[in-house]
């Protein structure tokens, strides 16, 4: 999907649709099958099993406590699929462009920059985690619960240092608030169809299925 506005908007609508109801989740699944490259991207494949296992664990706890764990698993899995698709498709500058387009060069620029920093941080955390795992492997340490706490502390420490560096850089360059940017978007016909279908998925999730057949009652 080329247009970042349609991509972000669709992701927001589809996440809500999948979360609201199991019908919405089914509609989102269809949308995901049609408009995304599924889990072919290496960026998505690496995180998917772990995240699904985590959702599955919570779903089992819900079943044990008498709730509808299956519904939770399906809905959250679809939210996860959409999130992973968005993350894989995102390119540097997308958040900034969309936020400036939507909210202007002051508030929008600040919001977009926060979004970009968050994305950059997510990338850095992923790289740091790989680095720590490699370091532990070199030290003949087994990656497990025992090493998890120090690893997380090192990750947080690295993230804090990086945030401090970015803050210093912005201050050094005289940043106060807002900025100048003229975002350019390329919208394909497929983008528009995908966006409209995302809106339909949300409508399908909000309105009960029986309402669609009201004329036939």
């Amino acid at each position: 999907m080329q247009d970042a506005r349609v991509r972000l908007g669709s992701a927001a609508l589809l996440s809500v649709a999948a979360f609201i109801s199991i019908e919405g989740a089914c509609a989102v699944f269809l949308w995901w099958l049609v408009f995304t490259p599924h889990v072919r991207s290496a960026r998505t494949r690496s995180v998917l099993p772990g995240m699904l296992a985590l959702i599955g664990f919570v779903a089992i706890l819900i079943v044990i406590s008498g709730g509808n764990g299956f519904s939770y698993f399906v809905r959250m899995a679809l939210v996860l699929f959409i999130g992973i698709w968005l993350y894989a498709e995102q390119t540097p500058g997308d958040f900034l462009s969309v936020a400036v387009w939507a909210f202007g060069k002051r508030t929008g620029f600040d919001m977009g920059m926060i979004g970009e920093c968050a994305m950059q941080m997510a990338e850095s955390l992923s790289r740091d985690l790989t680095r720590i795992q490699t370091a532990m492997k070199l030290k003949r340490q087994v990656w497990g619960i025992k090493n998890l706490v120090p690893a997380i502390l090192v990750l947080i420490h690295d993230a804090m240092i990086r945030a401090g560096d970015i803050t210093e850089l912005l201050a050094t360059r005289g940043y106060r608030n807002g900025g100048s940017l003229c975002p350019v978007f390329r919208t394909s016909a497929r983008d528009l169809v995908a966006g409209i279908c995302a809106i339909c998925a949300l409508i399908f999730a909000i309105i009960p299925v029986s309402e669609f057949f009201i004329l036939y009652r």
Partner: protein, 239 residues
């Protein structure tokens, strides 16, 4: 315990990243090997590959008789898994006081390794790495961030390693340990230049001083500062 016949064999190993590629073949046997090449030539990638941390696109890496190995990466912070120096030393299974003495650092073990300068952290890391014997020791840019005195001290320590295979990957131009075999990465290929000192004559991108010495027929017997100095003295007719 080092195995006498140990060797690391690269069978036409190929690494690719976009338009960039590196082909490496050859046998690394017991002794000290120097792999040289310009920045971006693929030294770090080759080190990762030899450590088994990066799979090749084609070819195989065979480690005959190698029971233990260690890779020291260029950036010392990449090895940190502890929030204090004591924790970091413990993660290597080493005694903090011994390591701090060995690194020549007069600081407390409670200090965060992140608060050290890059040079101090490099010294701490190198001290941890060199405190143990490995059958295969891969040192990626071990001299980066070190001052001249520390570089010389590290060269002496590497030279004193008598067991196993030690491979030093560097673009360093002035500080070298005593080397047994010389390798060069040029034109996307790892070239085995052979045993030192003969290999020095075939060293295409040798440091300027060594090239000059070779040019006037005064090839140093090895690459340590003493041997280069000795060759330079011969050039000027001193004994």
């Amino acid at each position: 315990m080092a195995v006498p016949g140990m060797r690391l064999f690269l069978d036409r190993v190929t690494m690719e990243r976009g338009a960039w590629s590196l082909v490496a073949g050859g046998t690394f046997s017991r002794g000290i090997h120097l792999v040289t090449g310009s920045v971006g030539s693929g030294k770090s990638t080759l080190a990762l590959l030899m450590a088994g941390l990066c799979p090749p696109v084609r070819g195989t890496v065979d480690r005959d008789g190698i029971q233990s190995w260690m890779l020291s990466t260029q950036f010392p912070e990449f090895h940190i898994t502890g929030l204090s120096i004591a924790e970091e030393c413990a993660s290597w299974g080493l005694d903090t006081d011994v390591i701090l003495r060995s690194a020549g650092l007069e600081i407390s073990g409670d200090v965060s390794p992140f608060s050290l300068s890059r040079g101090e952290l490099k010294r701490l890391h190198i001290a941890c790495v060199l405190s143990r014997q490995y059958d295969l020791l891969l040192l990626d840019e071990p001299f980066s961030s070190l001052d001249c005195a520390e570089k010389e001290r590290l060269c002496r320590e590497i030279t004193s390693r008598e067991q196993g295979i030690t491979v030093v990957f560097t673009h360093e131009q002035s500080a070298f340990p005593r080397v047994d075999q010389l390798w060069e990465i040029a034109g996307g290929e790892l070239c085995d230049l052979g045993r030192v000192p003969d290999a020095i004559l075939r060293w295409q991108y040798a440091p300027a001083l060594i090239k000059r010495l070779v040019g006037v027929g005064r090839c140093p017997s090895n690459l340590t500062p003493d041997e280069i100095q000795e060759a330079a003295c011969r050039m000027h007719g001193y004994d």
